[in-house]
Subunit: 136 residues, 2 copies
């Protein structure tokens, strides 16, 4: 069912410093920072040949990653995103097996403009997993 | 400098249960469990079209992931691995910029038989980063 690993999302306390480390230290191609107010984060995309790393910092007072950063002040890996061809079919299959979808259970629009859902980390062995519908 | 995202490593408390979730729940292709006594872990490789997820559980009393699991009893994302064409050149470049390499600073043989190094998470904004030398 799941296809490609789309991205790994990393929350960092200082987005400019992290972008510099990936660009100048690791020699990767990084995007300019982009505010996503509807997601409460500012992101920098690190483009690797086969996948992306998304560096995220909280944006606004109700950022969904503020709590993560409070628990992990140095930053850390936040979630991993897998692509699926049909998000609702994937959700229905997982829910039928007892896995929980966060929020309303309905797909939302993710940072790349595609429909996304998040699975409960307790059902994925401690890891927050995002599913993103990507058309090939 | 860094190339492909080789894998994301996830530590889990119950490797068989996690392998089942990825195989039966997410519909991915998973390998049989493989003991790596020289690394103190048992691993299951989840093969995605563009990258791997490595599910890891502690093996033996001195496992390097035992402490992680003690701090994160439900499991969680442990590290991300990027490929480099020349590991010593990558190390020298990073060390010259003040980044710290874990252990002796000399490449070790990783889970895939390739030379690997780990960078200090404090220098990578809270994330443990593995560099693996992969010949194209």
């Amino acid at each position: 069912m799941i296809g490609r690993l789309n991205h790994v999302a990393i929350v960092v306390p200082d987005l400019a410093a992290a972008a510099r480390t990936y660009a100048e230290g690791l020699g990767a191609t990084v995007s300019p920072p982009r505010d996503l107010p509807e997601h409460g984060v500012t992101v920098v995309f690190v483009a690797l040949p086969n996948a992306k790393v998304e560096l995220m910092a909280p944006l606004g007072p109700a950022s969904p990653v503020a709590g993560f950063l409070a628990r992990n002040p140095a930053g850390g890996m936040h979630h991993v995103c897998f692509e699926v061809p049909d998000l609702r079919a994937a959700r229905d299959r997982l829910v039928a097996q007892g896995l929980r979808v966060l929020g309303t259970g309905e797909p939302q629009t993710g940072a790349h403009g595609n429909p996304v859902l998040f699975l409960h980390p307790k059902d994925l062995h401690g890891t927050l997993v995002e599913l993103e519908e990507v058309f090939d």
